[in-house]
């Protein structure tokens, strides 16, 4: 394993590995410095959605960025499967958001109408009536009054995706250091010298900080504000069933092994990823309102995980002003953005001519 490379990527979750994947594709040498089993590791606790619907309602540039990301997904996944032989069970035939009260549904329709206008008509959503959605999804019933639909939404097995990325990167020469904690950063004209708690020393021309909630502490070491906070989401997982759901929705999806996964919550409880009876009950009640037959299914396990949230919930892409060559990458939709992080964000990091303009996502937007 090397200790000198073009890029040092701090964080080996979905964001870090997607970026490493893209950088390796550009022919760059990459080292990944990764944390421990005890770290929060949002890549292990996410819903597995490849999702556009509902994002960037008041930030069209984010909706556009997400749209681009999901359109490139099939190709990206096909490439990974070719490379590693690992099946990631991508299903991208559209997804729903269910509504059980007409006011919320109307509000959503209005939001989508505005967003479509802002995107010059390029936002191909559809609205389904109570009847339509029941015909499309036999499990739906109860209090459901309708649903919104976006054709490029879908879901993937996020753990298999992570595994495929890890294997592909290793295959293409990634030096992946595990169980590390970054303690020292030195920067000069020649680049960066990084040191970890266990004594690992790495030198690189550029650094990408994508360590999730770790950005709070590590960000300032590179001159970033590191404005991330944890937001808890809880998820219920049922026993396994034969296929009964045709498409995923933002809170209910059937995973490829057969269990039905049900979310979610948005709680500001600090660094606490415990499950709570009250939220589990609320999540179960809401799901049963949409799909009454879920009531008889057994819950096999539950979990809670911490989203990596910026102040406005949008990604942060920022090059350091005090240490040029250091980049901050953080988001809570690492799964959805995996393809674009590999293909497009890597251009921005490498500095190619066709790199995307990501100034809308800089930390500057948080200045007063």
């Amino acid at each position: 394993m090397r200790t000198e490379a073009d890029f040092a990527v701090i964080g080996g979750g979905i964001v870090g590995l997607s970026i490493a994947h893209g950088l390796l594709n550009h022919g760059r040498s990459v080292i990944c410095i990764d944390g421990t089993d005890a770290d929060f590791r949002a890549s292990r606790g996410n819903f597995g959605l490849v999702w556009v619907q509902g994002k960037g309602i008041s930030a069209p540039h984010y909706a556009a960025w997400s749209q681009k990301a999901v359109r490139e997904y099939p190709d990206f996944v096909a490439g990974l499967t070719d490379d590693t032989g690992i099946e990631v069970s991508l299903q991208q035939t559209g997804g729903y958001e269910y509504f059980n009260d007409p006011e919320t549904m109307t509000e959503r329709i209005n939001q989508f109408t505005s967003l479509r206008k802002a995107l010059g008509g390029d936002y191909p959503y559809e609205i389904l009536s109570a009847e339509d959605i029941r015909a499309a999804e036999p499990m739906v019933g109860g209090e459901t009054v309708g649903a919104s639909y976006y054709p490029h939404d879908g879901h993937v097995n996020p753990l298999q995706l992570l595994k495929a990325l890890a294997e592909s990167c290793q295959k293409h020469g990634l030096s992946h250091y595990l169980g590390e904690k970054l303690t020292q950063v030195k920067h000069d004209r020649d680049g960066f010298r990084l040191k970890t708690l266990k004594g690992l020393e790495v030198t690189s021309d550029k650094v990408v900080l994508c360590a999730g909630l770790g950005a709070k502490v590590l960000g300032p070491m590179f001159g970033f504000k590191g404005l991330v906070r944890p937001q808890r989401g809880q998820v219920l997982v049922t026993e396994k069933l034969p296929p009964v759901l045709n498409r995923p929705s933002v809170t209910i999806r059937q995973v490829n092994e057969g269990a039905i996964q049900i979310g979610d919550s948005k709680e500001e409880v600090g660094f606490n990823d415990s499950e709570t009876q009250s939220q589990m009950a609320r999540i179960a009640r809401n799901a049963i309102k949409i799909m009454p037959k879920l009531a008889q299914l057994r819950l096999v396990r539950s979990w809670g995980a911490l989203r990596v949230m910026s102040p406005d919930g949008l990604p942060i892409y920022q090059e350091s002003r005090t240490m040029p060559g250091a980049f901050l990458v953080t988001c809570h939709s690492g799964i959805t953005l995996a393809a674009t992080h590999s293909r497009n964000l890597s251009r921005w990091l490498v500095g190619t001519k066709d790199a995307p303009d990501l100034s809308d996502f800089s930390e500057d937007r948080f200045n007063g």
């Binding site: 990764d34 499950e275 009950a281 096999v300 809670g304």
Partner: protein, 457 residues
């Protein structure tokens, strides 16, 4: 002031009785239809003659159960039976399910007395139908009067001999015992032997059982290793080695027993501190001598804190109850407490010897790549090793890499094997590897029950 006791075995029953004697309200949650736990299972429905076949200890348990049953007729003690507790929260809310309906109630203090499980013994073929644990055979004898035919018992530990002699008493002799402890184990164990009345009575009991088995012609193979089982319906061929020579034996049923480990599902889900028991090679909740854990108002009694057997469990139940009384402003007689503590301590004396003699073996702790180690998700040892080579550092990452530990049993039968495999592959001591993050529901429960359960004040 109301105390919740989880588990109806000797520890739970004694804890409840001790509290009730001081007029404290107790609710005891019991998964079984009648009290006794696993060790005294079904004793309330067994006549004395039948009970004697399971030994004097079982018969003595009957008295405790009777006492408990009388106490549960008073309004101080509520015995909730056939209840599956699926959550105990940090603020001491217990959620349980009976017949498809769930309830929850808060308590001033919780005593966890959920006992122990048999350690998994992952050998090739251990998932075949007809292969069970020695404890399973014991339950079949106690609750159904049924003895698995032409059984071969494999493993080590007092329960192996106890079950074998119980089978003899029931009129269906096992074919053979394949004992995994070897000469070095005996030697090491002898250095741990401390004289005393508990030790003496234990060794006497053991000698009696071995004599019974020998007189009945039950063959004993010692120093057995590298066991594998091939099965065709109800015929099993067991292959094993002794001293480098291969052996083979045929059986009608196979009973595995690699010792007993504390059931840590609740203690882990509560985030209690645990320590690694190096001899017994398992995680145990950290407790003080009275059963206090790292969380206030939560206590542990019985084998769930560390496997010491039923008699020690009874004392431990009393001690935990005394700790509850202490911590909630009630008087506890210092002499009684000191005497109970001293009695409890005596059980450690024999345990050190037994645990060393019957310590689990690396060849089933670290199985071959092809052996299934996660029964629920059908994950092999090889897949676990591969995951570690791919960068998986611990049991929770392993879940993500392989689904190992995500199934119905939530790690009960693969957790320790996984700890050992990761530790061995990463060249670390097991205690540094950690354990699965255990979450509610501790047993599966319907979404309907999660959504709507009656909250009892």
């Amino acid at each position: 002031m109301r105390v919740g006791v989880i588990g109806g075995g000797p520890a739970g029953m004694m804890a409840a009785l001790t509290l009730v004697e001081k007029n404290i309200e107790v609710t005891l949650f019991d998964e079984q239809p009648s009290a006794g736990g696993q060790i005294y299972r079904h004793i309330a429905n067994t006549n004395p003659e039948e009970a004697r076949r399971f030994g004097d200890d079982y018969v003595a348990g009957g008295d405790l159960v009777k006492r408990f049953q009388s106490a549960s007729l008073t309004d101080k003690l509520t015995h909730i039976s056939t209840a599956t507790v699926w959550s105990v929260s940090e603020d001491r809310e217990v959620a349980w399910s009976i017949n498809g309906q769930s309830f929850s109630q808060g308590f001033s203090a919780i005593i966890l007395a959920t006992g122990a499980l048999e350690r998994a013994m992952p050998v090739p073929g251990w998932t075949n139908p007809g292969v069970m644990t020695a404890g399973a055979a014991q339950i079949l004898m106690k609750t159904a009067g049924f003895v698995p035919k032409n059984a071969v018992l494999i493993g080590s530990g007092p329960l192996l001999y106890l079950v074998a002699t119980q089978m003899l008493e029931m009129g269906n002799s096992p074919v053979a015992l394949l004992e995994t402890q070897n000469f070095q184990d005996y030697f090491r164990a002898m250095t741990k032997l401390r004289p005393g009345p508990v030790v003496f009575s234990y060794l006497l009991k053991g000698a009696r059982m071995l004599r019974q088995l020998s007189r009945a012609g039950v063959k004993r193979y010692k120093g057995v290793y590298d066991v594998s089982i091939s099965s065709d319906k109800n015929t099993h061929i067991i292959r094993f080695d002794i001293n480098g020579s291969p052996y083979q034996i045929e059986a009608g049923s196979v009973l595995l027993h690699a010792g007993v480990q504390p059931n840590i599902q609740f203690s882990q889900s509560l985030g209690l501190a645990h320590q690694w028991n190096k001899i017994n090679q398992c995680w145990e909740p950290e407790t003080d001598a009275m059963g206090r854990t790292s969380r206030e108002h939560i206590y542990i009694a019985g084998d769930g804190a560390g496997v010491l057997g039923a008699d020690a469990a009874k004392l431990s139940g009393e001690l935990a109850a005394m700790a509850v009384l202490h911590d909630h402003g009630f008087h506890v007689d210092a002499a009684t407490e000191a005497a109970t503590l001293a009695n409890h301590r005596r059980y450690r004396s024999i345990r050190s010897f037994l645990d060393t003699l019957y310590a689990p073996k690396h060849w089933h702790n670290l199985p071959d790549d092809d052996t299934i180690i996660c029964r629920c998700e059908e994950v092999t040892a090889g897949k676990v090793r591969d995951a570690v080579h791919l960068g998986c550092l611990g049991p929770n990452q392993l879940k993500a890499f392989s689904r190992c530990g995500m199934g119905n049993c939530q790690g009960r039968y693969c957790g320790l094997t996984v700890v050992n495999l990761i530790a061995d592959t990463r060249n670390l001591p097991p205690e540094e590897v950690g354990y699965y993050r255990i979450r509610s529901p501790i047993k599966p429960v319907t979404l309907e029950e999660i959504a709507n359960h009656d909250i009892i004040d």
